[in-house]
Symmetry: C2
Subunit: 331 residues, 2 copies
């Protein structure tokens, strides 16, 4: 498994990126990592792994900033994100991992057009924690102008990802809507609803769900337009922080002796949530594997994402997606 790691992507890069790569190499013998980025900054961080046989550096001179427009990746041909995609497009690596500008990583994937057979548009899937265990939400930002066929394919791809990677045996698929009854919502979701009901996946299709069902875990896979998904994901992040802050501010002053115990418990919950929500999010529908990590990733998150790419290959995720989207009856 050869993996390109965007060494420059993320709020704290390149330190946690390089450290995470070194940890992953130690843990999995089948992994080779190409660190893509500014060699001068990366090299000093390698320490005793300087001559590691499964580690190399591909120097590049540019970086797409975390707050730049995604389209910047088009003009910055020597950016770490563009180079990672180039390595994958030319079969020099099997996977890429980036904690950089999510929009830019996805945009570069769209430009490169490494789409799996039958896939109309790739989509970013995130695993979110819910009352009933993990759910998969997609698309969360790769595609802000979805067509019904795209949403249908997100349901299929998300469902196979849930099964093969997240370990949910028979995932149900819910369509994010503004009411649960059939016939609700705008034209996009109405037509998507019809597509699911007429498809091979009609049994797994739970129908419409509403926003408040998301954290109940009413459906294992929740499908929505990339605009809606991105807003939902970021509102959730902001709201988690807001509610936890409000809870701590309300509870801690009400206590006397046990304030420190409570403070520690709050911190533990925040840490657990942070890591459960923001592992590497795959751009599904791509020839190869692309995992996008949260901008605030630490070395552990990077290491986990690198190891996760190997899992994608082991379970043949792309092959099952292609089989599901190109059923023999339609051949």
């Amino acid at each position: 498994m050869r993996i390109a790691l965007d060494a420059m992507g993320g709020d704290y890069a390149p330190e946690p990126n390089v450290l995470g790569a070194r940890q992953a190499l130690q843990e999995h013998e089948g992994i080779e990592v190409v660190l893509v980025g500014d060699e001068e900054k990366i090299a000093p961080l390698l320490e005793e792994d300087r001559d590691h046989p499964r580690l190399s550096i591909l120097h590049c001179s540019q970086v797409v900033g975390m707050h730049e427009r995604p389209s910047a990746v088009r003009s910055k041909r020597d950016s770490s994100i563009a180079r990672c995609w180039e390595l994958m497009a030319t079969n020099k690596v099997d996977a890429l991992v980036s904690a950089g500008n999510t929009g830019a990583v996805a945009a570069a994937g769209l430009f490169t057009r490494l789409f799996l057979k039958g896939v109309r548009r790739p989509g970013i899937a995130v695993v979110i924690p819910t009352k009933s265990g993990p759910s998969i939400l997609l698309d969360v930002g790769a595609n802000a102008a979805c067509k019904p066929e795209h949403l249908y394919q997100y349901g299929v791809m998300g469902s196979l990802y849930a099964q093969k990677i997240v370990g949910i045996e028979q995932p149900t698929i819910g369509l994010m809507n503004i009411g649960t009854e059939d016939g609700k919502g705008n034209e996009l979701v109405k037509e998507t609803h019809r597509l699911f009901n007429q498809s091979h996946f009609s049994d797994a299709f739970h129908g419409n769900i509403e926003g408040r069902d998301l954290y109940q875990g009413t459906a294992n896979v929740v499908v929505c337009d990339g605009f809606v998904g991105n807003v939902v994901l970021k509102v959730s992040e902001g709201m988690f922080e807001y509610v936890m802050g409000m809870a701590a501010e309300g509870v801690l002053p009400a206590l006397n002796q046990e304030r420190d115990l409570a403070k520690q418990a709050f911190k533990k919950i925040a840490d657990r949530y942070h890591h459960s929500s923001f592992g590497g999010a795959p751009l599904l529908g791509i020839e190869g594997t692309c995992l996008i990590c949260h901008g605030s990733s630490n070395d552990k998150s990077i290491r986990n994402a690198l190891l996760r790419t190997a899992q994608h290959a082991e379970v043949h995720l792309n092959e099952v997606i292609v089989a599901a989207l190109n059923p023999p009856a339609e051949a």
Copy 2:
């Protein structure tokens, strides 16, 4: 101020509705309430207010259920929601309050077409609590097929509502988007962004905001498509409950003697949030006043909404909206 109250709307109707009406009458001498609904169910709840000079019942035989399609209000002509709108359309009342099926209340408003001069589509505004105080989010479900002009008008109406009713002196207007840079997002938000910048409200326009800015209170008024707003509002409701549950489950067992103190503090926060978020939400852009209450409204919420309608009239909210949307330069 004559107000039609949908006596049948809400999860616990008609008890809290009737009780809330009786409280409002006692508190504000300028209010007259018409209880619209099943007389047999309403009358026994009136008790000593049976012959109250400012209270009357308009009997009707139908109810639009909380989970029925909004369009049901079209065929149920003798439903409490349809009758409330009819009273307003025929100038028998100045305002209506309903805790019933939100979609049906808004749909009936659209059918009735009691739009203020210059208003293209009414929108539902909710006040949400944020780190920096209350913000206004709209539309949250009246209009799931927004055009740029609609979103622009929501910004204007939301801003005047923020000023006149919520008491925010110089409200800023943010456009919900998937990135903060200019030029981000789908066609709808890109064009809306241009409209704001070219308008009389360009100084108040903060530009794009992202989901995570919502609970930071980065903008006082947040404008979005009714599909997005409805999903955001319901995801927030669900997430509040999920995070508070997770916090309580994590913190309470970590304590020994002071578990009860902490439990009370958690409950207090939940109650406060519930009441701060879900007051009566106005359908802005309507000739008259329409306040939509949360389905779980209690008597206090209904009372507050009834009193709030009087405030709408006192500050001449509709007049300032009409003036802002029909500037003399364009006359």
